[in-house]
């Protein structure tokens, strides 16, 4: 292909730099404002803090700590549960022929398409009747239920791509199904399993309406709802609010810092398959 002219390339970089500036700006602003008093926020709006208020972080952490632990527990457990359940289902769908297979997989597919808005009110009634209000399981169980649908769907296609001969040769070597699953399927599909788990964590971490409904208690609140409540107070100390937001951003940054490669790969290859 014809080499791009240097001028075109510079223009490209400048446009992208401007777009990136606006994309990153909220994060910059959050960081610098998290160290300012309300007064300094007014007098020195965009600059670095002149008199950084580090105690905002310790004060915010005292509140956010509980939310962070709750969110980590809920998102982590839900992701592990959804992946576990999906692996079992996907393996069976990919490997065996059995009566009602298409019907059962069809139910899975159907609920992938049925919008959650239909079930919001009855799910709330159900969770209340089960006595799960203000229990982390009120969030975890429905997250597993809806999260597993797409993972089962994607993993099935991945497991089906494994050459039949590999299963055959393992069987001749005397391996059972459990061993085939762990020594053949899991290593083969590990990147996609990991990226599905990450996507699941991202979704449940960001969910707002459901935890707002079923985990209203301060002690059980998730991060998203907890941060929202910061805004509700009468006298807002904006610095403290921004410090809480910064603290709430860190865990996913760390998690995805190590795993972004898998996540991006899995997202894009999964999308092409679907």
């Amino acid at each position: 292909m014809k080499a791009q002219s240097a001028r075109f390339r510079y223009a490209l970089i400048v446009v992208l730099a401007i777009l990136l500036f606006f994309t990153i700006f909220p994060l910059y602003f959050m960081l610098v404002s998290s160290l300012k008093t309300n007064f300094e926020l007014q007098t020195n709006f965009f600059g670095f803090p002149g008199d950084p208020q580090f105690e905002y972080y310790s004060e915010a952490f005292a509140k956010v700590k509980t939310y962070l632990l709750n969110s980590t527990y809920i998102s982590g457990t839900a992701a592990i549960g959804a992946v576990f359940v999906s692996c079992l289902s996907a393996y069976v769908y990919a490997r065996f022929r059995f009566p009602f297979k298409n019907l059962l997989f069809g139910i899975n597919l159907a609920f992938l398409m049925i919008p959650g808005v239909l079930m919001l009110v009855p799910q709330f009634v159900l969770v209340t009747k089960l006595g799960l209000m203000n229990s982390p399981w009120a969030a975890i169980l429905p997250y597993i239920a809806s999260g597993q649908l797409v993972i089962t769907f994607v993993l099935r296609t991945f497991f089906e791509e494994i050459p039949k001969e590999l299963f055959e040769s393992m069987r001749i070597d005397g391996s059972g199904e459990v061993r085939m699953f762990f020594q053949l399927c899991v290593p083969f599909a590990l990147p996609i399993i990991l990226s599905m788990a990450l996507l699941n964590i991202l979704n449940s971490w960001n969910d707002f309406i459901w935890p707002l409904l079923v985990l209203p208690d301060q002690k059980h609140m998730t991060l998203t709802v907890g941060l929202f409540r910061f805004m509700d107070q009468q006298q807002i100390l904006y610095g403290k609010m921004f410090a809480g937001m910064t603290l709430g951003t860190i865990p996913l940054m760390i998690l995805f810092g190590f795993t972004m490669k898998y996540f991006v790969q899995g997202m894009t290859s999964g999308a092409i398959k679907a």
């Binding site: 292909m1 992208l16 609920f111």
Partner: protein, 296 residues
């Protein structure tokens, strides 16, 4: 042999059991309940003794001017998401694709990917502060450049300012799943096809419209239906930023459902709204599938 088959199938069904336990209890049963509850007069006063009222909830909801108006509001938000959000991610992805696979391209891709993992609530709270009338950034900027008279309560002044403010949230709307999907689509383009077009002297615009853009149509179809289905159900931005106001000016159907069910305790009416939205979404999904089949 037959016994072996049954035993083997027994194991198969055991493996499917956990999945269907969750599907049954948390999806099938609530879906069924949604329809049943939509025919009940069920609120906080008669919580223990809901009463069957036939289609009364549907009649009441469909006749409610707030509910009708909420669809006009929804149309604005969904159209914006379909055109502007998708357009922005396509343009962003294409510009990075044009940078090539070198160091700068990789850095740009990473830089736009990072904000994806910032919790959505953090971004929303930033924008809430952006529009905040007393301390907020937008009014501050306006005052400091001498446009004091332009300052206003952005999220509450009138319908145009409230809707416009929510729509502008997240500018420049690049960082997201769509961006990654389109970028992967562009990067999968066979360069030899393009070389021929370049030899023929095709302009950059022509290259984009005739060669590159058609290559991401499959991705665009997928994201379009996802954006559409997601957009119809979405109401947390409106709930957080304007609570549906001023008046009902930013109330979308999802928020109307939430308020009926959880603020006014009208579980029957809430369910009926859920069923109506479900029917609309399924109709659109079905039409989209028909359309895609005809295309291919």
């Amino acid at each position: 042999m037959r016994l072996g088959l049954i035993r083997k199938n027994g194991l198969v069904y055991m493996c499917l059991l956990p999945g269907f336990f969750f599907i049954g209890l948390f999806l099938v049963y609530p879906a069924w309940e949604a329809f049943r509850m939509s025919f009940l007069d069920w609120n906080m006063r008669n919580y223990l003794h809901p009463e069957y009222v036939g289609f009364a909830n549907y009649v009441q909801v469909l006749g409610d001017p707030v509910f009708r108006k909420s669809f006009a509001v929804l149309l604005v938000f969904v159209m914006w998401a379909l055109v502007i959000f998708q357009g922005a991610s396509i343009i962003g992805a294409y510009l990075i694709y044009l940078l090539g696979n070198g160091r700068i391209g990789a850095i740009a891709k990473a830089a736009f990917t990072v904000p994806m993992v910032v919790p959505g609530m953090v971004i929303t709270l930033f924008w809430l502060f952006f529009y905040e009338p007393n301390y907020g950034m937008l009014n501050h900027i306006l005052s400091s450049i001498g446009l004091e008279s332009w300052t206003m309560v952005w999220l509450g002044q009138n319908q145009a300012s409230a809707i416009g403010s929510i729509l502008m949230k997240g500018f420049p709307w690049i960082s997201g799943m769509g961006f990654l999907i389109y970028l992967a689509g562009f990067q999968a383009i066979d360069e030899s096809v393009k070389e021929a077009a370049v030899m023929d002297g095709a302009s950059r615009w022509k290259l984009f419209t005739k060669v590159d853009f058609p290559m991401i149509l499959p991705q665009l179809r997928l994201t379009t239906i996802l954006v559409l289905v997601g957009g119809i159900q979405q109401f947390s931005d409106q709930m957080i930023m304007t609570k549906g106001g001023p008046g009902y000016d930013t109330t979308v159907p999802g928020l109307f459902m939430y308020n009926n069910a959880f603020s006014y305790g009208q579980l029957g009416i809430g369910s009926a709204i859920g069923v109506i939205l479900f029917l609309i979404i399924m109709l659109l999904t079905f039409l989209n599938m028909r359309f895609m089949r005809e295309q291919s």
